[in-house]
Point group: C2
Chain length 211, copies 2
């Protein structure tokens, strides 16, 4: 039994610009797709049907729906108004996502389950009755989504997971992936020479063999 449709917003072209200091554009595109595949694997293991909501088509066998680069919230809200199953919206840059953490979201007894991202965003949100909610992803969306739930009279649960809280945006975030990752995006980094370092008691990251 499918528990929910998992919508995964994804930007295939020139993604993750804050990683430009350690990965060139082609590498960032390959890395973003590796992270996406890790998320797809995790949602499938949690019995969800993944649907990629992409700004462009890209070469993949994954189910894809293409939207304009602008208007992620608008595109999602249009989808929500006609959704007939539970909808899980999960970001593509969460390579630490695993079956257990996603099932904790799916198993909520509330109308909505939400996982904040680091820095005030919304990394994952489960909507049991999507028609009754609308999303607003621009800036500090976690507190906005809590407020929208309250305004709509929907009960909610905040799921306490660092695996779903950790979005990969910057060089320091790669440390988390090398420590806690198990999938394709961790392998991607290792194959390209990324290693953990320890200096003055702090863990960092270095890249070996990159000219």
């Amino acid at each position: 039994m499918m528990r929910a449709t998992a919508i995964i917003p994804f930007k295939p072209k020139n993604p993750k610009s804050r990683l430009s200091c350690v990965l060139d554009e082609a590498e960032r595109e390959a890395f973003a797709e590796a992270m996406l595949l890790d998320v797809v694997t995790a949602v499938k293991e949690a019995d969800c049907q993944p649907v990629i909501l992409g700004t462009e088509l890209f070469d993949s066998e994954l189910v894809q729906v293409t939207i304009k680069d602008v208007g992620l919230s608008d595109a999602l809200n249009e989808y929500l108004t006609c959704a007939v199953t539970s909808v899980l919206i999960i970001m593509a840059d969460l390579p630490l996502a695993d079956e257990t953490s996603i099932k904790r979201v799916l198993e909520t007894k509330k109308d909505i389950a939400i996982v904040p991202g680091r820095g005030g965003g919304t990394n994952v949100i489960l909507l049991k009755d999507p028609k009754r909610f609308h999303v607003d992803y621009y800036g500090g969306s976690f507190l906005k989504h809590i407020r929208i739930a309250e305004e709509c009279g929907l009960s909610y649960e905040v799921i306490d997971s660092f695996r779903l809280h950790t979005d990969i945006d910057e060089k320091d975030d790669l440390v988390e992936l090398l420590i806690h990752g198990t999938g394709k995006s961790r392998s991607f980094l290792e194959e390209r020479g990324f290693r953990l370092t320890t200096e003055n008691g702090r863990v960092g990251i270095e890249r070996i063999g990159k000219s």
Copy 2:
């Protein structure tokens, strides 16, 4: 029934130097103690007995054991060899800790439960049989503790909690406290004029009224 003794390492003098850009020394000392009190409240709510392992005595009614500034791991290991109950070692800079997250640690079925900190540290570790384990907190301690558990033949569980994963070290971490905190350390920040800001879609922090 007390579930465990909760050892909370604490540095009362000139703590949290990476917050010097936004808090002076006296403020950092007051803020560190507010965070400690939030952790003490949370461990008490989870039925643990808090014991502060401090580098100096400070003015408080909390149970205190004083050690030298050097040798946190040595001091802890000496304690572990003579411990007669389960021991929870929890850092003092985790003001998002709450009863629910700590109980998830305490309720593990394994010999050890561990919560990684951001950047490879160990924020919380539960030892059901403390005599059989030793800690090593210097640099990348999470992976070290996993290795020590394996070497000692102890089973372990990694607890997936962003509340216990989020240690407050830097200015950006204060964003998490203002979004998710509910205790004294959040109030401390608010009373001193700290507010969330949103610029270009990103959440940050500012301080109002500080000359």
